[in-house]
């Protein structure tokens, strides 16, 4: 495996040397390859039309100043400077960052043991695997309302417990800090099973004989976990963390519904600007571009990590 990978890379490096344009020309001179390009052309055009064009247009719009009833005009970076100096944007960015880091970290820490447990052969494993996914099967908006009721001060069990135990006696839904913590808890409740499932998929491709060999060599279970399981499951782990990070970074429905519009995230900021407000369309658009670019950067960092791990 490792050999073939490096051979391919060498080939790729060689191919790049004559310059992009001439290699392109070479590609098209080959009849079969030309045909291949013609055949994927429709798909490329569709992708350009439905994915690339709207993105480029959104970026273009984010540099325009738009006011109802007036022709829009070029505004340069004005929307971005206005956005970065908006205190609501600051709180949205901070909330999203805290939420993403905390929820993904907790999901990872809890997801690994769950995946390890589900990976063992035991009676009723199929049922346990299905049951663990139950929270993930509900639409977010629905359980966000469910949890809002549980956090509510008059009928909510969570508020009752936290008041009785003197953890937090003020109304949870009325404090933005408590609301953010509640949001993390609810997200962990919902998506840990998903994380566990992705890790489980990674665990299942680890060959059994590696463990057997380790046992013969006298490795303790703890050593087996750190030396075998973790390194081998790392690529799957990174993919799972990437999925969850991008998901958490775009959090919208959980905050909007459970926080009843009192908790800002980047996505709620975009929605408020583009859809609710009449005048902040350009600001919302700039924020949308910001979400897109920041997500892209996060994805690139992770992909780079995944790529190097796979090679090593």
């Amino acid at each position: 495996m490792a050999e073939s990978v490096s051979a391919k890379q060498v080939a790729a490096r060689k191919g790049r040397r004559p310059g992009l344009f001439s290699s392109f020309k070479n590609e098209f001179r080959n009849k079969d390859r030309r045909l291949a390009y013609y055949m994927i052309a429709p798909v490329l055009i569709i992708i350009l039309a439905v994915a690339v064009y709207p993105i480029v247009y959104a970026i273009y719009l984010s540099f325009q100043e738009v006011i109802p009833n007036q022709p829009s005009h070029w505004a340069g970076l004005q929307n971005y400077t206005q956005m970065f100096s908006d205190p609501i944007f600051h709180s949205a960015l901070l909330n999203t960052a805290i939420f993403t880091v905390c929820s993904v970290a907790l999901e990872l820490v809890l997801g690994i043991p769950i995946a390890l447990a589900l990976n063992r052969a035991f009676k009723g494993r199929g049922v346990a695997r299905a049951a663990s996914l139950a929270p993930y099967a509900f639409p977010t908006a629905i359980w966000a309302i469910m949890w809002r009721l549980m956090f509510q001060d008059q009928v909510g069990i969570m508020q009752y417990i936290s008041t009785k135990l003197h953890i937090f006696t003020d109304p949870i839904l009325g404090s933005s800090g408590a609301l953010l913590i509640a949001g993390v808890i609810v997200d962990v409740w919902k998506t840990t099973p998903f994380m566990a499932l992705l890790i489980l998929a990674g665990l299942q491709v680890i060959p059994r004989d590696v463990y057997e060999a380790a046992r013969v060599d006298g490795a303790t279970p703890w050593q087996q976990f750190w030396r075998i399981t973790l390194p081998l499951v790392k690529p799957a782990l990174l993919v799972a963390v990437l999925f969850r990070t991008l998901d958490a970074w775009r959090v919208y429905d959980l905050f909007w519904v459970m926080g009843s519009k009192q908790l800002n995230s980047l996505s709620t900021y975009v929605y408020t600007g583009v859809s609710v407000s009449q005048l902040d369309f350009s600001l919302g658009n700039a924020a949308a571009v910001f979400v897109f670019v920041s997500s892209l950067l996060i994805a690139l960092v992770f992909l780079r990590g995944i790529g190097t791990r796979a090679q090593g």
Binding site: V66, D153, V155, P171, K261, Q262, V276
Partner: protein, 447 residues
């Protein structure tokens, strides 16, 4: 869809939205076709009326009545919209931006006329809704449909914030049950005693959440203290930083600091207040007239209290002898500017806003009519006691700022008022911040 073959170069936002809206509209159209396939053989007289869900059943009743009785053979389809007013507004906005949509008559919130009128989305009704017809309506609702001197809608039903009190609890604690508190201070004293003697869990509940209802409540405190939000003589001038407005918001905040209202009131909307009140947990409540139907509903609506235990009064004032003001709510009827059946649409509007329909809506749904005649009609006032109060309140009902940028102004007020009740900002900071933010919005929009 047959949509404009616009060149992409120099596409304005309006055109962009129209194009993207075309997709949404065509999706809606497909859905409509699926839903109403039986009525697909529509004649040219088919009108489309959009309105949210209606629990009272009166809307269906009125539409059936109109379909049967009108002399021109007009038939009306009711397109049911979202119960969430904000979502309804967003969907209408999208349709208007996409070129108008196919709705002829639109029922809409009391705060929409300026925004719709400013953008030219709804018909200017100056010629149809003339002075003689206007004179039949109460001044508050009429003011709310007028933008720059022109009526853009006809008031359909009206609503006003009211003060609900428990007569039995007042009597038990040594207060005259027929003398509800007239100032907030008096209320706080009574609440303290009632809660202290264990008769109620909370003194007062009101809507303090960050949403449109929170703006209504905040505005009432500001008006009650003699302040205002926009200058009534020049609606492009924000005057919220006056000392009276600060006093008003300080009073609102004091409901929480004096423990008159629970701290959770910062998350309360109508429904939360309603639950607390029907459970008997709260002695006083600020809420809309619809509560009456729920209290009278008994077990059916989950009410543990009866109408005999409850009284309704104008909202308390800031100072003795002062006036408490109620925020105007309610709905209006608009005609889509792009409708090709405006004459028929006007027939429907006249019928729905007429005295006969108002009577049906009042008796069967408890809706407050914006027509003066309804309040002198003994057949109505005798049966719906809230109506009597509403007519005496008439000059104490005020409408939220009439501005084409209302949704932006409201967003700021929602956040500001909520922060002030929570105590994360002082009322003084709130008003000075709102002053600059709101003035900025108006300047940006009118520049």
């Amino acid at each position: 869809m047959t949509k404009p073959s616009a060149t992409y170069k120099g596409l304005s936002r309006r055109e962009f939205l129209r194009l993207s809206g075309a997709g949404v509209a065509s999706a809606a159209l497909l859905q409509a076709c699926g839903g109403f396939s039986s009525s697909s053989g529509s004649s040219s007289k088919k009108l489309i009326f959009s309105h949210g869900p209606d629990d009272s059943g009166t809307v269906k009743l009125l539409i059936d009545k109109f379909n049967k009785e009108n002399s021109k053979g007009i038939s009306v389809d009711w397109r049911e919209q979202s119960a969430d007013t904000g979502a309804y507004f967003d969907s209408l906005k999208t349709q208007f931006q996409a070129g108008g949509g196919d709705i002829d008559v639109i029922s809409g919130d009391v705060i929409w006329p300026a925004q719709f009128g400013f953008n030219g989305w709804v018909e200017d009704l100056s010629n149809l809704f003339d002075d003689s017809m206007q004179s039949q309506f109460l001044s508050g609702p009429l003011e709310a449909v007028t933008y720059k001197g022109k009526p853009y809608a006809v008031p359909w039903f009206t609503d006003a914030g009211m003060f609900w009190y428990r007569k039995d609890l007042m009597k038990k604690n040594g207060y005259d049950p027929n003398k509800p508190p007239t100032t907030w201070e008096e209320l706080q004293g009574m609440a303290k005693k009632i809660v202290g003697s264990g008769d109620a869990k909370y003194g007062l509940v009101f809507q303090g959440d960050q949403y449109e209802g929170g703006v209504c409540n905040g505005a009432e405190y500001i008006w009650g203290a003699g302040g205002d939000i926009l200058d009534p003589s020049d609606p492009t001038k924000v005057v919220i930083d006056g000392s009276q407005a600060t006093t008003g918001l300080t009073t609102e905040r004091s409901q929480v600091t004096t423990s008159t209202a629970p701290q959770a009131v910062v998350t309360f909307e109508e429904q939360d207040c309603q639950t607390a009140y029907l459970n008997g947990s709260s002695a006083f409540m600020r809420n809309w007239p619809y509560m009456y139907g729920l209290i009278a509903g008994g077990k059916e609506t989950g009410s543990k209290i009866t109408p005999a235990q409850v009284g309704v009064a104008p909202l308390p004032a800031s100072t003795p002898g002062g006036k408490g003001y109620s925020c105007l709510g309610g709905w209006n009827l608009f005609i889509n500017a792009q409708s090709d059946k405006k004459d028929d649409a006007w027939e429907l509007v006249k019928f729905l806003a007429g005295p006969e329909a108002a009577k049906i809506r009042a008796l069967k749904g408890g809706f407050l009519s914006p027509l003066k005649t309804t309040y002198t009609d003994k057949a109505v006032t005798g049966k719906v006691p809230v109506l009597g109060l509403a007519s005496s309140l008439a000059d104490q009902i005020r409408s939220r700022p009439v501005s084409p940028f209302y949704s932006d102004l409201s967003l700021k007020m929602q956040a500001g008022f909520n922060a002030s009740i929570k105590g994360t900002e002082t009322p003084t900071d709130t008003v000075s911040q709102l002053q600059s933010e709101m003035q900025g919005i108006i300047d940006q929009g009118t520049s």
